[in-house]
């Protein structure tokens, strides 16, 4: 199922929620990444037809979302908010949600059984939701979205409050669904969470889309930004002296105890090309080399600054 967003804007009076967004989401897992208040939840609520676009269009497989309740047979939505009818038990909640999806009681119970078991809530299914811990509430919220086997899932900060085991099983389930051909859209402000689920991301800040694509493609967009490279070797003094002579090396941080130096370069390609020659010409043994900012944290920091 494909999500197509064209020139989408949403504003509330003078406040802009999202601003001129255009993107397409294909089956698989896609991450919405951005700090709190970036507009991720507003965007998800627009995509699930809860809010009406001020401008632009949203379509799911060619169908408009706003005021189109029929689409919800194919949509699963997990809200960020920790909200429930607290008088429900976990079981009743999932069954009620399935009943509202249009299933008979019998079918709803069969589906609820699978979903509740999948999130590890079987033993406590009959307890009132009000008595659940935050992690349990999050898990029962996840159970209600995949119980009806939707083709597209929108998950707003789905790992909130989950313990490490719960996180792992949720991540595995999300990845499995993406691999199974479903379109899964996950929002998070925690970068490594998204990184664990997908490398296809959409970066959002202040309601604007900063970048979309593969993490490495996005990295390519910011080639002009300096890259940090940490090198551990047996002769940091010589290597430092050599590197200082190159114009594309902007700064070097030195750690003699660890035999390590961190180089900041504004031309990463050139740097990576020259480094082996410098090492070999000066007979320096390289022990390790990595880039501390080649993860989403760094990319995100660069883009939102």
């Amino acid at each position: 199922m494909t999500v197509e967003v064209k020139q989408l804007s949403k504003w509330y009076g003078q406040v802009i929620g999202v601003n001129h967004l255009t993107f397409t989401i294909e089956p698989g897992v896609t991450g919405f990444l951005g700090p709190n208040g970036a507009g991720k939840t507003t965007l998800l609520r627009l995509l699930t037809g809860q809010l009406k676009p001020s401008q632009g269009t949203i379509s799911l497989n060619g169908e408009e979302v706003w005021n189109n309740h029929r689409l919800f047979h194919q949509i699963g939505y997990c809200p960020e908010q920790d909200v429930f009818w607290n008088f429900h038990s976990g079981w009743n909640f999932v069954v009620s949600m399935l009943r509202m999806q249009g299933y008979s009681r019998e079918e709803a119970e069969i589906r609820a059984e699978k979903a509740v078991e999948a999130v590890g809530m079987w033993d406590v299914r009959n307890n009132r939701i009000g008595s659940y811990s935050k992690g349990m509430r999050q898990r029962i919220k996840l159970a209600q979205i995949w119980a009806h086997d939707p083709r597209i899932l929108f998950l707003d900060e789905p790992l909130n409050g989950l313990d490490p085991i719960g996180r792992k099983s949720a991540i595995d389930l999300i990845k499995k669904m993406g691999a199974g051909g479903k379109t899964v859209v996950v929002s998070s402000h925690i970068l490594h969470e998204i990184e664990e689920m997908t490398d296809t991301i959409i970066l959002i800040n202040h309601g604007r889309m900063l970048a979309q694509g593969n993490i490495y493609e996005i990295r390519g967009l910011i080639d002009t930004h300096p890259l940090q490279v940490t090198i551990q070797c047996d002769n940091v003094n010589v290597l430092t002296t050599e590197l200082l002579g190159y114009e594309y090396v902007q700064s070097i941080q030195f750690d003699r105890v660890q035999n390590r130096l961190t180089v900041e370069t504004n031309r990463p390609d050139e740097f990576h090309l020259r480094l082996p020659r410098i090492l070999s010409e000066n007979k320096i043994n390289l022990q390790s080399l990595w880039s501390p900012d080649e993860n989403l944290d760094a990319i995100f920091d660069y883009l939102v600054r």
């Binding site: 809860q50 009406k52 908010q81 909200v83 509202m100």
Partner: protein, 245 residues
């Protein structure tokens, strides 16, 4: 809400005992029941219970933010509101009818002059008036609840500030209250005009603009349809941001 219903029974007892102690003219079961059902049920409990339940039809889901779940199901929005309104109607109706029946049986037993069946036609007519009133009030308060931030307060202000005060003001302004049309349908409302004690209280509400029963029913049904239509279209007319945690 059930407490409100029980409260009405208690209040009826107090009223009846006080009336006897203060040496008022002997009150028949029908008169006592009639006065209580008119002043307590029609003017207080009906709008109050409608306000408490009606304002919550949408407002509770918005306040609790559970509206998210309702709006992301493959159900048309009008169906969701209709289901909630029906549930509210059944709840409010049951509370009112149970309280009314309890009050009637208590009053009847205390007066000791008439059995259940004697005034059954009055009782069923009063029930009908209350249920018709509920049909108008519930969606009306539902609409208030959908658009206002403090719907219960607004509902109470409407109940006691508009319905119960404006109905006393002579002139045509009382035509803009719902309760005005319910008065006409109340049993013996016209008959008691000019009649001593009971009439003294009831006559306050009688005006030259009184309408016939069919017209009153038609206006009430029209109002019910108007407010229900408005309520059913609320989720199409406005969107809810639902504040974040």
């Amino acid at each position: 809400m059930m407490i409100l219903g029980l409260f009405s029974v208690g209040l009826s007892l107090v009223f009846f005992v006080l009336h006897s102690l203060l040496g008022g003219t002997e009150l028949s079961a029908s008169e006592a029941f009639y006065e209580i059902s008119f002043s307590l049920f029609l003017h207080l409990l009906l709008p109050l219970i409608s306000a408490l339940i009606g304002t919550g039809i949408i407002a509770n889901e918005v306040e609790e933010r559970t509206l998210i779940y309702l709006l992301t199901r493959p159900q048309p929005k009008w169906k969701i509101i209709l289901a909630k309104t029906l549930a509210g109607y059944i709840t409010a109706g049951l509370i009112l009818l149970i309280a009314l029946l309890a009050t009637y049986s208590v009053m009847s037993a205390l007066a000791g002059d008439q059995g259940w069946m004697t005034l059954f036609s009055d009782l069923s007519r009063i029930c009908g008036v209350l249920l018709l009133g509920l049909l108008v009030y519930l969606p009306l308060f539902g609409v208030l609840g959908a658009f206002l931030k403090k719907p219960v307060l607004a509902g109470l202000l409407f109940t006691f500030g508009w319905e119960n005060l404006v109905a006393y003001i002579p002139g045509k302004i009382r035509l803009f209250t719902v309760v005005h049309y319910l008065h006409d349908l109340f049993p013996h409302f016209r008959k008691v005009r000019g009649n001593s004690e009971t009439a003294f209280f009831l006559n306050i509400f009688i005006t030259d603009q009184d309408l016939s029963t069919p017209i009153s029913i038609s206006i009430l049904v029209l109002l019910a349809a108007l407010f229900t239509g408005l309520l059913l279209s609320v989720l199409y007319l406005r969107e809810y941001r639902l504040e974040q945690n």
